[in-house]
Subunit: 361 residues, 2 copies
């Protein structure tokens, strides 16, 4: 590998002079500087090695991290995560940096790592700052980022004192979502949710499970559902919650099938469009007509939702990413950042919700 020492020898100057040529050009005469740059070009020297310079000068690597739950494969499948990334990269200044995707297991180490105390390389000084997306409360990575003094901004979850937050009013948006079907007259309602805890469990879930969920978003959302039911005089204990244990429509389809077969709800409320799409598939398998036999409402307004004519709650994921990136870069530039940015949501009524069937099926 070609280093500053090589360039210095080639240019006939000291190694420090080469460093100045890149970092403090004013300290060198223009002639010397040109001579050094010419030597660097001849040798194919790409500029100061980031690892060396970062170590010396307190850790700026030029990389910005995005901390994602689960595997990268999942992240790229998930519409919300994709939109978030799309928004993050809209911030053009990121093109001068590296965007480092860091998939975090629930323990914070690399998937399948042996020693408990070793964490993901992404948590060991490789990034200058981090955008954290939907991590469980108290995820070990959060403590690590704190211990490393890594500037960060959180999108959606968790809420951390002193850390800029970008999100929506999950509780109110969920209440609005459920109210839509309540207003249409539904009373036999079920909820389908991706997961309440990252422990692989699936199937019907009781109150204790969501109340104690470590995932802020789902806890708030279901809290909102409860509020909406109470406001409409519907007993929330009679509203089933089924947990899919995964994030893709296919898994949702089988869970939704079970829900339909067991409980024959007239409306199913999903915590994402992916889940709602699974419900639609399950309904189609059973020759149920939507919305005549079954109403379905999603959440996100992902690109697929419009094509499917899905009624949903729109949340601005792309904007979340864009704002998070902008806050993080402000932080990295030494600026002050807004403590909390709450974006608006909106009910989008399309073709999958309507009044319940006359006799309740």
């Amino acid at each position: 590998m070609v280093t500053m020492k090589d360039v210095a020898r080639e240019a006939g100057v000291s190694q420090a002079a080469v460093s100045y040529a890149y970092g403090r050009p004013d300290r060198l005469s223009a002639g010397i500087r040109r001579q050094i740059m010419a030597a660097a070009d001849r040798l194919g020297y790409p500029g100061p090695n980031i690892v060396g310079s970062s170590l010396r000068s307190g850790g700026r690597t030029g990389a910005v991290g995005v901390m994602l739950m689960d595997t990268l494969q999942y992240a790229f499948k998930d519409a919300s995560t994709r939109s978030l990334l799309e928004g993050i990269v809209r911030h053009g200044r990121l093109d001068e940096r590296c965007l480092t995707l860091i998939p975090l297991s629930s323990e914070g180490g690399p998937e399948g790592s042996k020693p408990q105390s070793i964490t993901h390389p992404g948590l060991r000084g490789l990034v200058d700052g981090a955008i954290v997306h939907s991590l469980p409360d108290n995820h070990p990575a959060l403590m690590t980022l704190r211990a490393l003094d890594t500037p960060m901004v959180v999108v959606d979850a968790p809420e951390l004192p002193g850390v800029p937050f970008v999100g929506i009013r999950d509780r109110e948006a969920a209440a609005q979502q459920l109210s839509h079907v309540l207003d249409l007259g539904h009373t036999r309602i079920a909820i389908i949710v991706e997961r309440l805890k990252p422990d692989g469990r699936k199937g019907f879930a009781g109150r204790a499970r969501w109340v104690n969920s470590v995932e802020r978003v789902v806890r708030e959302r279901i809290g909102g559902y409860e509020t909406a039911c109470e406001a409409h005089g519907v007993d929330f204990d009679r509203v089933s919650i089924i947990e899919v244990g995964a994030f893709d429509p296919d898994s949702a389809r089988s869970a939704a099938g079970r829900l339909i077969d067991d409980e024959a709800p007239t409306a199913i409320v999903a915590t994402s469009d992916a889940m709602a799409l699974g419900v639609l598939a399950a309904a189609a398998e059973r020759q149920l007509s939507v919305p005549d036999d079954l109403s379905v409402i999603g959440f996100d307004d992902a690109p697929e939702a419009a094509a499917a004519g899905l009624t949903t709650i729109r949340q601005p994921m792309v904007e979340k990413g864009e704002i998070a990136a902008s806050i993080l870069l402000t932080l990295l530039a030494g600026g002050e950042a807004a403590g909390e940015t709450i974006l608006p949501t909106e009910l989008i009524v399309r073709n999958t919700t309507g009044p319940p069937p006359p006799h309740g099926t």
Copy 2:
């Protein structure tokens, strides 16, 4: 920031012992090791700082780079790039690492960087290896990666001696694409291409421009078109090539409009599905019926192609990514890698191609 020295003090051992606890556990008694790990836990120490360890031990950072042309924003918009990334992350072992996206301008530096000789941070020792996607021949980043001895694998372009390559037979696939419309009887054919050179030019392009293109894929593809025309006795000089200068369907729409208005071709051959979708939009604007008035064929078989009923050439982008990731990880593990992996392509006939109109419009 908490360092090894802090952990050593906390555990009452030397700093070297802490290093051994992580890197050479066999050199320590189990008791001492446990004592050190406990101290690390108490302090929130995430394991050896990557920057320090990388500097000392010859540069392994745990990050894998993906070198992308243009901005990240564009990369996330482009269906091929998205599929490539999707494939890359299928290789689950990447979840133990960081996936670092590195957007390269045509000069190799950060967008808008001043000093000519300073290159993107991603090219200065931050990644252990790189997947290079569709870079122009002789892009400076390639020389840099060589100078840094960074293991790499190239997807699509350029072809580099001694560097593993993953791609398709672009020339043959393009010939098959054009032959499809020739076989249908078209003779008034035009070609719409994203860009021949990254110099911002757009509009009709002459032979010299594509023959000398520094982009391997487009050079091969158009070479294939020429071969197909010759084989069918069609004079390739009478086939117009229009350059969009961008990669999105919207830009393609206006270029295609110009093409249709000026030349009234009966078939338009596009080098990507995104371009073909733009052609479809331009045809719709002009009330042209596809394929009755105009045949359109794309390339890629991107997810949008099926929905649009687009006839196209399928190329396995996801597999390219998966294979490239697997080759790179093999290289990083010190293994041998295949020199060249050529994946199959396939003509997918849908609803946008048919015989030319009886009187040639």
